[in-house]
Amino acid sequence: MFEFCEDPSTLETARWFACYLTNGVHFRFYQSFLTVLLLLAITAPVALAFGFAGAMASRSHVAPLRWIGKTYTAMVRGVPDIAFFLFFVIALDQALEWLAHQAACPDWTDPIRQGANFIVCDAAKIPQSNAPQWVHEAYNFGIAVFTFAIVFGAFAANVLFGAMRAVPRGQLETGEAYGMTHRQTFWRILVPQMWIYALPGLSNLWMILIKATPLLFLLGVEDIVYWARELGGSRTSQYQYPHPDWRLWYFLGLLVFYLGMTRISEILLGRLTRRLSRGQATMAGEDQRKAFA
């Protein structure tokens, strides 16, 4: 990065750190923070969509659809989320390969499960074994995002289902009195009003999602935990930047990062709550109206 970084062993402390913290691997470490933020940015809307679909299904008048919705929301109850993460990564991978196998090699006769092995034909390997490295990484990341979205979608479905029931019945009756259909009442009356009831639960969920991101490490993605362990480990003098075991300091850095994320989220969600309370038939909305009048 800097010109004086040619021979780090001759540098004094401040310059040594300037060089150390800007070398190649550290930039990959910094990039992995972006990976985490990317995961949050993709997972949050997808999980919300899953949750919305799940909550709608649980309210459905069609019994099988309602059972699916209920099962989905009940799925995460009582079971540690990390078990889901570990399960879905392998299960999704195998499901995709099995589908690809059915499509690509219809005349394959050997069983796919041979004892302790899961064997599909070469054409059905996902990603292809000769694919470049970034495809493998992107595939891993995609599976991780999807897994997060499924698990957090179930949590969100639970929250949104409660929020839909919390909208005062009178509001919906007014819609019916105006001759709106079931669908119209749902989209025009229920959905715009439910968010303020869902917000406490959803903001809680967002905090949890932030705190669940280190689990990416367990899903085989090179995330910040991976790099903190990798970079913090002690380096002998054979390396360009020898140092003792610094993992403690790297993890302290991560701790501060997460605390910062939590604090910022708290402030932003507080503002969002005030914004959404405007004109609502709740205590907060009433207070705002009185303060304005």
């Binding site: 109850r77 079971v79 078990a83 570990l86 949590f155 949890i208 280190p214 903190a228 939590t262």
Partner: protein, 279 residues
């Protein structure tokens, strides 16, 4: 090999008794059930001990956070913020790296009948190190719940206490504390459930499983890696945890009923399990 034999061999495997080698080759359903069940011992151990010790610390923290003087309030606020604001996973890593760096010394403790040597090395072992992290973590979460409940103790209760001339410790013990518990108990039940779920993180977070003595999820992952078939071990873990969760709900429900025993039975608040918390 019969299933009974398997249970004898692997029933206490997670504590280091029985067969040393884990099953390999053809793995039977019985072996999976037994070994994963044996791992549950650790989950229950971590959860139960952290919860019981954390309860008292949490009450103290909640009272400290609610107190007027700066010197007690600020540390409690910071403690709660740090442990609730950061992932448990990172806390485990951080604690492990810290404990590893501790100087290796042993302290002899005379128990009267036997002498044991307490070593600082124990901190880097899961049974003590992870327990400490879980204890601090659950204290912070429970303290926030108790603090919220403490703030919503009805004004009338306090006025009634004043009218009876209760002050200080007596007022806290007779009026404030019982009401706080009553208000906080449903949320505290959820916290307990999630603490038990969080115990599955221990062996994935730096703390090594010595001689493959791990918890339920550790063994489940072992089987999933061996057989490359996730559809058996993970549902077994799920089943065990559903049973554990039901036991917790039952136990806490009984305590809840005891806390609210003065109320007519219709108006008692029933425990509702709302799972929307993980760390």
């Amino acid at each position: 090999m019969s299933c009974l034999q398997t249970i004898q061999d692997y029933g206490l495997r997670s504590l280091g008794y029985g067969e040393r080698l884990l099953p390999r080759g053809d793995i039977t359903l019985c072996e999976q059930f037994t070994l994963i069940g044996s791992g549950m011992i650790w989950n229950v151990y971590f959860g139960a001990l952290a919860l019981m010790s954390g309860f008292f610390f949490a009450v103290a923290l909640a009272v400290a956070k609610n107190s007027r003087p700066w010197i007690t309030r600020k540390p409690a606020e910071w403690f709660i913020f740090i442990f609730r604001g950061s992932p448990l996973f990172i806390q485990f890593f951080l604690a492990y790296e810290t404990f590893v760096l501790l100087p290796r010394v042993g302290i002899d403790i005379n128990l009267g009948f036997a002498e044991i040597t307490a070593e600082t090395r124990w901190f880097a072992r899961a049974w003590l190190g992870a327990l400490i992290v879980l204890f601090l973590n659950t204290s912070a979460y429970a303290a926030e719940i108790f603090y919220g409940a403490l703030r919503s103790v009805p004004k009338g209760d306090l006025e009634a206490a004043d009218a009876y001339g209760l002050t200080g410790w007596t007022r806290f013990r007779r009026v404030v504390f019982p009401t706080t518990m009553r208000l906080a108990w449903p949320s505290y039940t959820n916290e307990a459930i999630f603490l038990f779920h969080a115990t599955t993180l221990v062996y994935f977070s730096g703390f090594p499983a010595f001689q493959q003595k791990g918890d339920a999820l550790y063994y489940a992952q072992y089987f999933a890696d061996r057989t490359f078939n996730p559809f058996i071990p993970y549902p077994i873990v799920a089943g065990y945890f559903v049973i554990l969760t039901l036991c917790i709900i039952m136990l806490f429900g009984m305590i809840n009923a005891r806390l609210n025993r003065h109320l007519p039975s219709e108006t008692r608040s029933r425990l509702r399990y709302r799972p929307n918390l993980i760390r």
